[in-house]
């Protein structure tokens, strides 16, 4: 934004501030208009970048029972029981963990029990896991002994 405002100000009207740029834009000649478009697009694409990636995992410990909806941008470790909807960037269901419901995640590792609908990119099922439901995945890896049933769909 600052680069753009310097450009337009120096070439057109030094007194104009940023709020008056639409007027400035309409007055400007054609080559400047071409300059204007990419500058604004760059600004817009950079704007939504948030530093929301949390390196610390959220943990539901063994014995903990949660009913409801969980939403996380980060890592979720489930050793307890979840009934409901889980949305997270990365989910690990530990050997004592149990999830009944809907699960949306990029990275899913299952060592425990899962019943329900799953949407994930990367699915890894451990040898002692029990999984059933409708599963949509991009990459799948099932270790020998994992018990899985239901409909599997590769995206």
């Amino acid at each position: 934004m600052s680069i753009f405002s310097k450009n337009s100000n120096s070439q057109n009207n030094p007194e104009q501030d940023m709020q008056e740029q639409p007027d400035n834009f309409s007055q400007s000649n054609v080559p400047e208009e071409v300059d204007f478009e990419p500058a604004e697009q760059n600004f817009r694409s950079e704007a939504p970048v948030r530093s929301s990636i949390n390196s610390k995992p959220s943990i539901l410990s063994e014995g903990f029972v949660f009913e409801g909806t969980i939403v996380s941008d980060g890592v979720l470790n489930i050793s307890g029981t979840v009934r409901g909807t889980v949305t997270a960037k990365s989910v690990l269901i530990d050997s004592t963990g149990q999830v009944d419901g809907e699960l949306n995640t990029e990275n899913l590792v299952i060592k425990g029990n899962l019943k329900g609908d799953v949407n994930c990119d990367d699915l890894n099922v451990g040898p002692l896991a029990h999984v059933s439901g409708n599963i949509n995945y991009k990459y799948i890896h099932i270790q020998r002994g994992g018990k899985i049933s239901g409909k599997f769909n590769k995206n």
């Binding site: 799948i140 409909k151 590769k154």
Partner: protein, 112 residues
């Protein structure tokens, strides 16, 4: 393994197309195309192998493609190059990363 004693074995080479139903007492190794049903003790679908139809066996090892139906009473392995679609019944399963799986899975002994 099978080369030492080929009694009761079926080998389908790459480029071969077989149509029909096959009862194989020992090993069925498929590098070509089979349209129909195969029943064998041990089934190996090589990377170039394609089965359009039903596949049943104790041990099933898939590097190629199987459509429609698979039943494995002992172990089912889908390798990274394997593509499986349809109805799948197994007692023990392993899928290597990269394997394709599209369809319904059933565990033959879910309470073990």
């Amino acid at each position: 393994m099978a080369e030492a004693n080929q009694q009761g074995c079926l080998f389908v080479g790459e480029g071969v197309v077989l149509k029909g139903n096959f009862e194989v007492p020992d090993i069925a190794s498929i590098s070509g195309v089979v349209e129909g049903e195969i029943t064998a003790k041990q089934v190996i679908i090589e990377a170039t192998g394609v089965v359009r139809g039903k596949l049943s066996g104790e041990s099933v090892d898939i590097r190629g493609e199987v459509n429609e139906y698979i039943s494995s009473t002992r172990s089912l392995i889908i390798r990274s190059t394997g593509k499986v679609s349809g109805s799948i019944n197994y007692s023990e399963i392993e899928i290597e990363k990269g394997g394709h799986l599209h369809g319904e899975l059933h565990n033959l002994n879910p309470h073990s």
